[in-house]
């Protein structure tokens, strides 16, 4: 039997610390040490530095002085300097890990990591990129949902939007991407860390809508807010639009900062690499997340809704029938109830009572209606590609059942 050469194999399996290096290799190249701390950024030496005229000084001393000067110059800015981005290993790793297009420079990636609460200068924080990325995310998610499931009720669309592109999801994505948070923002911080001013512990997160919303009668808290009005007055998740950020609050939560970062990455890709790259990034990182839309429904009176739906669409009146049952007189009976419209079975459900089976069957039938998906789904943004096929109108539904 041939002898295994473990050393050659282990290089790909073992980590760098435990790797077995043969003596010759060690002798020729020496032991390599790695440190987890990022190297101190050495910026360009200022013109009026004292190093120029102090050449006879000890080299080590001049090095220390230069470092302290660089550190001094870094400390005067609220966020890392642009030159520091090239030196950061974390940034390069993040760029490679996300498989970002090479046309997106690490300097821009560093800018996406600076929140507005860390650096209020809009030329250096990610606000503009995040605004663009937020609009792109909303647009791509909305068109995907509406074209794939043209009959979804609005409340379900809001919930699905929140699940795909809501702040909680974006924060989870930033965590999955391995973005670490800086404790305190500053010019000397590694630009690969997400920089934002944290909220003081114990301070309340403002979740009430700002007073200057466009919605009329906002003060009438008891009035019902219809789902339709949310389309006009609220944001894409059906939540009230937050006004300008509160000036008294100095910081943001890590969730808000992470969400802003992910949006800013989207905007940066769009700006540097173009529409196609942004679309691809969206499909790879957002649409690839699994969301079971059928779990977002919540019906109060499914049987009544189904009756109204059948009346609206001109189908025969739905009738619940027992398909099979077992143990009717026992402690745990099971009834399988189907809802039929004429000879067509619309839905089927199993329950411990006839009522439960009927309600579940009605829920299944309503979900079957709402979760209709056309065979070949094309979204409007597909027309932006060169040499796109002519547009065929998508299926537009009457809308959800209103009782």
């Amino acid at each position: 039997m041939k002898r295994l050469q473990l050393q050659r194999w282990s290089s790909s399996v073992l980590g760098p610390r435990t790797r077995t290096v043969n003596r010759l290799h060690q002798h020729m190249y020496g032991q390599r040490y790695q440190s987890t701390a990022s190297p101190i950024q050495t910026g360009r030496v200022p013109e009026d530095s004292i190093i120029e005229d102090s050449t006879p000084l000890d080299e080590k001393l001049s090095e220390i002085i230069r470092m302290s000067h660089a550190r001094h110059s870094q400390l005067q800015y609220p966020s890392p300097t642009v030159e520091a981005a090239q030196q950061s290993a974390k940034l390069a790793a993040l760029h490679a890990r996300l498989y970002l297009p090479s046309r997106l420079p690490v300097e821009t990636l560093a800018r996406t990591l600076v929140d507005a609460s860390a650096d209020s200068n809009t030329d250096f924080n990610n606000t503009s990129l995040a605004t663009l990325g937020h609009d792109l995310l909303s647009y791509y998610t909305t068109e995907h949902l509406i074209c794939t499931y043209p009959r979804l009720p609005l409340s379900v669309i809001f919930a699905a939007m929140y699940a795909y592109a809501g702040p909680k999801t974006l924060a989870a994505m930033a965590r999955e991407w391995g973005v670490e948070l800086a404790s305190v923002p500053g010019g000397e911080v590694d630009p690969g860390l997400l920089q934002f001013q944290r909220l003081e512990p114990g301070s309340e997160v403002p979740d009430t809508p700002a007073s200057d919303t466009v919605r009329p009668y906002e003060q009438q808290l008891n009035w019902r807010k219809t789902v339709t009005s949310k389309v006009f007055y609220d944001d894409e998740f059906g939540d009230p639009i937050k006004g300008a950020p509160n000036t008294t609050a100095t910081g943001v939560t890590s969730e808000q900062a992470s969400a802003e970062f992910v949006r800013a990455v989207m905007g940066a890709i769009y700006l540097h690499a173009g529409r196609a790259a942004a679309k691809q990034f969206f499909e790879q990182h957002f649409l690839s997340r699994h969301l079971n839309i059928s779990e977002l429904f919540n019906f109060r009176k499914p049987a009544r809704d189904l009756t109204r739906l059948c009346a609206r669409e001109g189908f025969e009146r739905p009738v619940a029938k027992i398909i099979s049952e077992t143990g009717r007189k026992s402690r745990h009976p099971v009834f399988v109830v189907g809802i039929f419209s004429g000879n067509d079975k619309l839905g089927e459900g199993a329950g411990a009572s006839l009522m439960e089976g009927r309600e579940r069957a009605a829920v299944a039938a309503l979900k079957g209606w709402y979760l209709y998906s056309p065979l070949s789904v094309r979204v409007p943004s597909a027309m932006e590609e060169a040499s796109a096929a002519p547009w065929k109108p998508v299926h537009v539904d009457l809308g959800e059942v209103v009782v």
Binding site: N298, D344, K345, E359, V363, K367
Partner: protein, 198 residues
Amino acid sequence: MATSIAATKRPFLTLPFLLPSLSDSLALGFRRNQSSYRRTKQRLRVKPDASFDPSHQGRDHIIHNPPSSAPSVYHTPSKFLPADDVRRASSPTTVTTNAEDLPGVYKSMPERKYHLTPSDVEEIRNLRLNDPMTWSRNKLAKRFDCSPVFIAMVCQASPEKREIQARILEAVQSRWGPKRRMAREDRQLRREAWGRDA
């Protein structure tokens, strides 16, 4: 192999005179178990499904034994497909031929008569408004030969009557103990879970 072992073992175990000295004390210990190899095999030898019946074997057929699970909600019933969808013509799978033969959930489906006139509705409203204690929903439904749901659709009890009713309900519920209260709340929660399909 297994049968030969069983054949050699069997006389040994069934002939207790081979172990004369330990006969009584060990008889209980050597008693045969239910879970012998052969018996387990016998239990597993169940009759195959009817679709595997050899009478089909003259011609080609598809063996289709659907699992005992509810159909996926992402599979739209063909009745719900829009008219321009190609799946509508190709898959009449949701059509059940014996829908009429199946028993209904209710003992009898009430026949819809649509016999009440606007004057009847006006009378219902008057009766309920003037004497709400006598003319409850059930009594009105019985008198006008319609369902209580219809009575609720055309009129509503006066606020005083609703307040009295709420107080009665409160008085009844105040006599419930913790067990009954929790059971009722659990039932309500379970019922709400039906709509979420949870």
